[in-house]
Amino acid sequence: MPWLPAQVSTFGGEIDSIFYIILVITGIIFLLVEATLLWFAFRYRHREGRKAEHIHGNWKVEVIWTTIPFIIVIALGAMSFGPWARIKMLGRFPAPGLEIGVMASQFEWMVTYPGADGRLGTDDDFQRRNQVHIPVAQPILVHLSAEDVIHSFFLPHFRVKQDAVPGMDNQVVWFEATEPGEYELACAELCGTGHTRMRGTLVVHSAADFETWYEGATQTAN
């Protein structure tokens, strides 16, 4: 059975562990409820001479089975706050090792890299279509935007997903790769006929490799 794709970002592990905690808790609830259901269905099935008991309810058990789920869901919520804040809240972002711009449009990802001056929005910026190159073990800050319709920047192996909304210029995503390699960038929001093929590649280089690639890229860019 297909399962979570290999996980290669610093915070991906946190997301996965919450996923597993919920899986275990809901799994237990699932088994208990379904087992009870089947057991009752079998145990109390109609038999000649059986009469149902005339029971209207019991406030004590109502309180119990209200309180327990309440505590569980509150715990699940509380557990989710921290990672969410670390991953999505601007104020909690780490200092970036590399800032890039990603402009989504029908149906491609235009990636802007800072040129030699290391800053985005200057003349020496250069672009790559559907190609994201990043160094390993560096926080990457992505400035997301969209030109036409809503797209969604989805890096399955990094547990990253963020919609790119036209007109919203302050969308930022960060992540940090732990493993060099080549991964896929997907569009996760229906954006038209070509939604299905709006695919990009994300290459995570080792520090040295990235230097080389970057050198080469800035050379050809100018």
Binding site: M1, P2, L4, P5, E14, I15, I18, F19, I22, F30, L37, F40, A41, Y44, H46, K51, A52, E53, H54, I55, H56, G57, N58, V61, T66, P69, F70, V73, I74, L76, G77, M79, S80, W84, I87, M89, Q106, D148, V149, I150, S152, P156, R159, K161, Q162, D163, A164, V165, G167, M168, Q171, E184, A186, A188, L190, G192, T193, H195, T196, R199
Partner: protein
């Protein structure tokens, strides 16, 4: 038993035989209107099912010329070319599958059919508060359906922006290539909104004002409670959607820019408005189902529903909390992440009233005397599968986990476990349960059980593995997953799912056959075939115009099964108590 007399009319007007048109087409009788809605929405259920077939065919054998879409040759080349579903048509198929299933099949089945049919009967009223408005409600819904279907036949094809219609894709034909189809979608939904609204005003007024003497709030059957609360949700949620649809239609047609950013519009505003309606909408789609299941489990277990008051409070709590969670559909949309935290908290809490309901159903079965007739089978299966859907909701409610699972097949699995495993199973339960009342004939129990077991089997084979697809990262609404390397290993599973889905669709034909065959050949039904307590079973099957020969008087709650006070294992709500003062019957008519 109170009433089974042949000619019954509580209405004041003298009884004369109405013409065919007045009786079956422009009827103001709530029962006829309910049945009209039933036929209409079953037709749309079929269409929605066929569209699901198109979706699964494409995903099972993506763009494979060796597996041409059966019947694809009948469709124009702009949809299916040489047996291959085109991406434009795939998007329309997904959009229209979702739209039709939710708005034209499940919602009218739950509300249009059963709020109409059941409310007056269960509260002991001769009809709705506003019978003409009721008729108008159906005759507004029907044209909405026609307009919606017309979209398939116009140039440019039908809307392909998903049932959620996120702009700018839906607002600007430049981006979608869809012109007329998009506008017809919007117009149809606006018209349908009026229909829902007329219905809701009627249901709310009727339940508040037309209950029979003795029918206090806490003697209402849970089905009526659920339908009442649902009507309130419709009343308050649908107008928000209508407002948003109108703004979007203006963006489409006259060139306003509410949701398009070039001139300062806000795409996220649409999402807020849509989901402010949309989340209450999903509870509109589950609350009546929960109500029906409560009736059927109690009757099938021959036991009072466990914790009646807790059940009522849970319905109200779900409806109330449901207004504060809409943002959980927008966690990754660019919405302020702090707001997301608040929405996560409320979303988590909303699992609690559902828990109350699930546990009370289980407790109702405990120490019961379970009769597994077809409706009961479906109702018990509802509980089992709604739990799966609800629990998968808890995964996506956790914001960090939703980062990964949002817009993947995990959500598709969630949708279908709550909507098919939940709502549709409850509907199969309800249709088989109230069929004898509606048509005066029993459905065939053997075919019913066959349909049930095959549906449970194929349903789970189809939708359970979708959780895995989602966990592995497969996105929703993609035409060809094989474009992505990391999705390619899943093709085999997708093919398996498609086969199960096609078998599932085929299985529904058993139900269709049973439904129509029993209309003519079913065994004649007694007034109370399930030996149930609520008032509708006191009327003949089918009930005549005006429902009750005499206004029923209600002496007790609806779930007095196996009561020590009665010899039988049931005690109808209108059976006068054996001893004690004879209550004064209501005057049959005041003028």
């Amino acid at each position: 038993m109170a009433t089974t007399s042949a000619h019954a009319t509580a209405a004041a007007e003298p009884h004369h035989e109405p013409s065919f048109v007045r009786k079956y087409i422009f009827s103001t009788d709530h029962k006829v209107i309910g049945i009209q809605f039933l036929f209409m929405s079953l037709f749309f259920l079929l269409i929605g099912g066929l569209l699901a077939g198109v979706i699964r065919w494409q995903l099972g054998w993506p763009t494979n010329p060796d597996m041409p879409l059966p019947g694809g040759g009948l469709l124009p080349e702009t949809m299916v070319n040489q047996g291959i579903v085109l991406p434009e048509f795939y998007n329309s198929a997904v959009t229209m599958h979702g739209t039709i299933m939710i708005f034209f099949a499940i919602m009218p089945l739950l509300v249009g059919v059963y709020a109409n049919y059941l409310i007056p009967l269960q509260i002991g009223a001769p009809d709705m508060a506003f019978p003409k408005l009721n008729m108008a409600s159906f005759w507004t819904a029907a044209p909405a359906g026609v307009i919606m279907l017309a979209g398939f036949f116009v140039a440019g094809g039908h809307s392909g922006a998903g049932w959620t219609q996120y702009p700018p894709l839906s607002a600007n034909p430049e981006f979608s290539g869809v012109y007329m189809g998009q506008q017809l979608w919007l117009i149809s939904m606006i018209v349908l909104g009026f229909s829902s609204l007329m219905g809701a005003v009627n249901y709310v007024t009727t339940v508040i004002n037309m209950r029979a003497p003795g029918m206090t709030w806490f003697r209402l059957p849970l089905a009526t409670w659920a339908l009442f609360v649902t009507a309130v949700l419709i009343l308050l949620a649908v107008p928000v959607l209508t407002g948003a649809l109108i703004l979007l239609l203006f963006d489409q047609t006259i060139g306003t820019t509410f949701f398009s950013p070039e001139y300062g519009g806000e795409p996220l505003l649409w999402q807020h408005l849509f989901w402010f309606f949309g989340h209450p909408e999903v509870y509109i789609l589950i609350l009546p189902a929960m109500g029906f299941v409560s009736e059927i489990i109690a009757a099938g277990s021959r036991k009072p529903i466990f914790g009646y008051h807790a059940m009522v409070l849970a319905i109200i709590a779900i409806a109330f909390l449901g207004w504060g969670v809409w943002g959980h559909h927008m966690f990754q949309s660019g919405m302020n992440p702090t707001l997301g935290m608040g929405f996560m908290a409320t979303t988590m809490v909303i699992a609690v009233p559902s828990a109350i309901k699930v546990f009370n159903w289980l407790a109702t079965m405990w120490r019961g005397d379970l009769h597994f007739h077809t409706p009961m089978l479906h109702a018990v299966a509802f509980v089992g599968m709604f739990v799966i859907g609800g629990l998968s909701g808890v995964f996506v409610a956790s914001t960090p986990v939703d980062i990964f699972l949002h817009d993947t097949y995990f959500v598709v699995a969630h949708i279908h476990y709550v909507l098919f495993g939940g709502s549709l199973f409850a509907l199969y339960a309800a249709i088989t349960f109230w069929y004898p009342k509606m048509f005066g004939r029993m459905m065939n129990p053997l075919l019913g059980k066959l349909h049930f077991w095959l549906t449970v089997l194929f349903f789970n084979l189809t939708f359970f593995p979708m959780h895995n697809l989602g966990i592995a990262g497969m996105m929703r609404r993609i035409y060809d997953p094989n474009q992505y390397e990391f999705l390619r290993p899943m093709q085999e599973l997708n093919t398996m799912i498609s086969i199960a889905a096609l078998l599932l669709i085929g299985t529904q034909l058993i139900f269709a056959f049973n439904f129509f065959w029993s209309l003519f050949r079913g065994e004649p039904a007694p007034a109370n075939p399930w030996r149930a307590n609520s008032l509708e079973w006191a009327a003949p099957s089918p009930p005549p115009h005006g429902n009750f020969a005499r206004t029923p008087v209600v002496y007790r709650g609806p779930y007095e099964y196996s009561s020590p006070l009665s010899v039988e294992d049931y005690l109808p709500q209108d059976d006068p108590p054996a001893e004690g003062p004879e209550p004064v019957p209501a005057p049959a008519t005041s003028h």
